[in-house]
């Protein structure tokens, strides 16, 4: 395969053709479902009439939110090699912070967004000051501790007035029309598609950039990276800040999309979920997080629909299977086997008498 880098807009379009293809198919997806499955016209999508299209858009938005969260975890775990067990806190700070700012303080949504962005940077810096002090497993334990404290505080009755204790935060009204998932589902859907694709492009650019290369070097061998003259602390801090901002953005979308934000999004279980998603998709491959999120949510949803009651058991068994037999995740395994698959296809085409 020739990899000539073409300059200009055409070259960019060519290099990003996977993203463009995904973008186009995701935008067309609700229309196709509306026509083929529901038997309704194109107008049904715009007017948000009931049907499979509306429902599947909701499911897709959940996948995008999970994917955003997972991609931010992949930057820490897969790319930089920072093992943090407190990632759910990053998400929950966005979800709760935005919801409380809107509901209890009745701020303008722009100010609320700014507020959670500041919170995101602050919590990333909090994690960053731990970095030189504790490494490896101890860092994981300390981050687990910090997020567990956050989880306990957010679900305690002391904050019930703002965060709603164990029931969760509810009654957050959409502040602006394009964040209204009930009445403007398609607009919200397009917004999340745009955000996810934008973040994906940004992340793949970060990983390919010199800073991203330093992060990968840090993951592989931190001492050597330091020897080469890189101050790995600042690069890790950068990764934490970017990751935190993305996770907080996912949390904000979650607050807008779900009628209720439960304290579970701050718990250890949610960190484990995102760890699973990253591993299913393939750690270190940025697109793997999105694929993993889709696989995770669809699996959970359809197993629940087909085997009500036994779904938890089946999901667990499928996880064990994936961990044992797909060691590099879906995208990782695909990349490792791509050359051989292509070879096999060529051989098949030759057998069929076509020239390649």
């Amino acid at each position: 395969m020739t990899t000539t880098v073409r300059p200009g807009i055409l070259g960019t379009l060519r290099r990003r053709r996977g993203v463009l293809l995904a973008l186009a198919s995701l935008v067309l997806f609700p229309f196709v479902i509306s026509i083929v499955v529901d038997g309704q016209g194109l107008d049904a999508v715009w007017s948000n009439s009931r049907g499979n299209a509306l429902f599947l858009q909701g499911l897709a938005i959940e996948i995008f939110i999970l994917g955003l969260f997972a991609i931010s975890y992949d930057l820490l775990l897969g790319v930089s090699g920072i093992l943090s067990f407190g990632h759910a806190m990053f998400f929950a700070v966005g979800a709760y912070g935005f919801g409380i700012a809107l509901k209890s303080f009745e701020w303008h949504w722009g100010i609320a967004l700014l507020f959670v962005a500041v919170l995101a940077v602050v919590q990333a810096l909090l994690f960053a000051i731990l970095l030189p002090r504790v490494q490896g497993l101890t860092f994981a334990l300390v981050t687990l501790g910090i997020s567990a404290v956050f989880w306990i505080v957010i679900r305690s009755s002391d904050l019930a007035q703002w965060a709603g204790a164990e029931i969760g935060l509810q009654g957050v009204r959409p502040p602006v029309w394009f964040l209204d998932t009930t009445n403007q589902r398609f607009v919200f859907y397009l917004l999340t598609v745009a955000i996810v694709m934008g973040v994906y492009v940004l992340y793949s650019k970060i990983v390919d950039s010199p800073a991203g290369r330093v992060l990968v070097a840090t993951r592989e061998n931190e001492e050597r990276a330091v020897m080469l003259g890189y101050n790995t602390f600042w690069f890790k801090t950068l990764a934490l800040v970017v990751s935190s901002l993305t996770a907080v953005l996912a949390g904000v979308l979650h607050t807008m999309h779900q009628p209720i934000v439960t304290p579970n999004v701050a718990g250890l279980g949610f960190t484990v979920t995102v760890l699973l998603i990253v591993l299913i998709g393939g750690a270190g491959t940025v697109s793997g997080a999105l694929v993993g999120a889709a696989a995770f949510r669809l699996l959970q949803f359809y197993l629940d629909r087909w085997f009500p009651g036994a779904s938890g058991l089946l999901v667990g068994l499928v996880y064990i299977g994936i961990v044992l037999y797909l060691p590099f995740g879906i995208v990782g395994t695909w990349r490792a086997k791509k050359a051989r698959i292509k070879e096999g296809r060529d051989r098949l085409l030759r057998l069929l008498g076509r020239r390649t």
């Binding site: 093992l83 687990l144 019930a160 204790a165």
Partner: protein, 372 residues
């Protein structure tokens, strides 16, 4: 002391689980009783020891398997939790279908049977899981964590499929359930009088919760440290942790030793589950309840240190009692009129904050050897 329900959860008296009780207090159905006939600080110390004792049993179980390397956190803990649960569930099986002579026996004998059966089954389950699922993944630490989380999830779901979601209570063994004539017992001798409570140092203790569990915890601690430091297999375990390749070269089957260690850890976790069951009741989340506490206790004591796990468990048990006490009296923050009263749900946060502080100052815990 029975008027202090937050500390002593007695399913028989209150028909409540800790979770229910916390929720009820949160929504105002149940008022935490004001401090009154409550002896400070002697009773406090003993209550702390109870929680510490339970956490210790779980913590020790995890410590044993964790000793094999600092990167393998999670695997033993999760399986420990699942083992705890599976054992407690197995207890239910053993209790019910073997009607006939089992029900003719006194609860003491039945309890003894349950302890033995579930410990053995827990150990066997642990060995099975290690051989089948964890052994292929030893060179990929994060994946061993994932697989144990998956196994724990599957086991808990399996228990829910079979026994449903309701919570069960388990009768306290008759040897610790006596009431009436001559009760409560006096002094140390009262421990063997068959009473459910005894008077010691002017405060009232419940023999099972505050006496028996603690005693078992100490016994297990002594037994395991004897095993580790005084026997040949213990020497092999410690050597295998240090340098598995070298030990293998000396002609010792290290893999089998690791399997045995894992089985021992699971068995001890199961023992912890059985011992905790009469005191906290059976539910599918009873393992998860102690998982975080066990991890915190381990981290405080040091992941590589065996007595450290016990010390950490003791420390957080005491700390939690102090916080519960402060929740009743209130903490006077300077310049604030109203004293701050932490609600019961905030109690676990204290031990976690303690863990974070200790780890930041001493990254390898209180008693751990600093290897990084």
């Amino acid at each position: 002391m029975s008027k202090f329900p937050l500390v002593i959860w007695d399913p028989g008296n209150f028909a409540l689980t800790p979770v229910n009780m916390t929720v009820q207090i949160d929504i105002g159905l149940l008022a935490p009783l004001p401090p009154g006939d409550y002896v400070w600080p002697m009773a406090l110390a003993f209550l702390g020891v109870v929680l510490g004792g339970i956490a210790m049993a779980v913590g020790i179980a995890s410590a044993r398997s964790t000793g094999s390397g600092p990167t393998r956190l999670g695997r033993p803990h999760v399986v420990a939790a699942a083992g705890l649960l599976a054992a407690a569930a197995l207890l239910q099986v053993v209790k019910e279908p073997l009607n006939g002579w089992v029900f003719e026996l006194s609860t003491t004998w039945r309890f003894l049977m349950a302890v033995i059966v579930s410990t053995v089954v827990g150990a066997a389950l642990g060995a099975l899981i290690e051989v089948a699922l964890i052994r292929p993944l030893y060179d990929r630490p994060i994946y061993t964590l994932m697989i144990t989380l998956g196994v724990g999830f599957v086991l808990i779901e399996a228990v829910r499929e079979v026994w449903g979601r309701p919570e069960f209570t388990m009768a306290r063994p008759a040897a610790f359930g006596g009431t009436g004539e001559g009760c409560p017992g006096e002094g140390i001798g009262g421990f063997f009088s068959g009473c459910s409570t005894l008077m010691l140092f002017g405060s009232r203790l419940r023999v099972y919760n505050e006496g028996f569990i603690v005693l078992m915890g100490i016994l297990v601690l002594i037994a395991v440290s004897m095993l580790l430091h005084r026997t040949r297999i213990g020497m092999t375990i410690r050597a295998g942790v240090q340098d598995p390749v070298m030990v293998e070269a000396l002609g010792i089957n290290v893999r089998r030793v690791f399997t045995q260690v894992f089985a021992l850890g699971s068995g001890l976790a199961a023992l912890g589950g059985v011992l905790a069951a009469p005191s906290i009741g059976l539910s599918t989340s009873m393992g998860a309840l102690f998982l975080l506490t066990a991890i915190v206790a381990l981290a405080i004591g040091g992941l590589t240190s065996f007595p450290g796990a016990a010390a950490g468990a003791l420390l957080i048990g005491l700390l939690q009692q102090v916080i519960i006490r402060l929740g009743q009296t209130g903490i006077h923050i300077p310049f604030v009129e109203e004293p701050f009263k932490p609600s019961p749900t905030l109690v676990p946060a204290a031990s976690i904050i303690l863990m974070v502080i200790i780890l930041l100052v001493l990254p390898s815990g209180l008693f751990g050897r600093g290897e990084r």
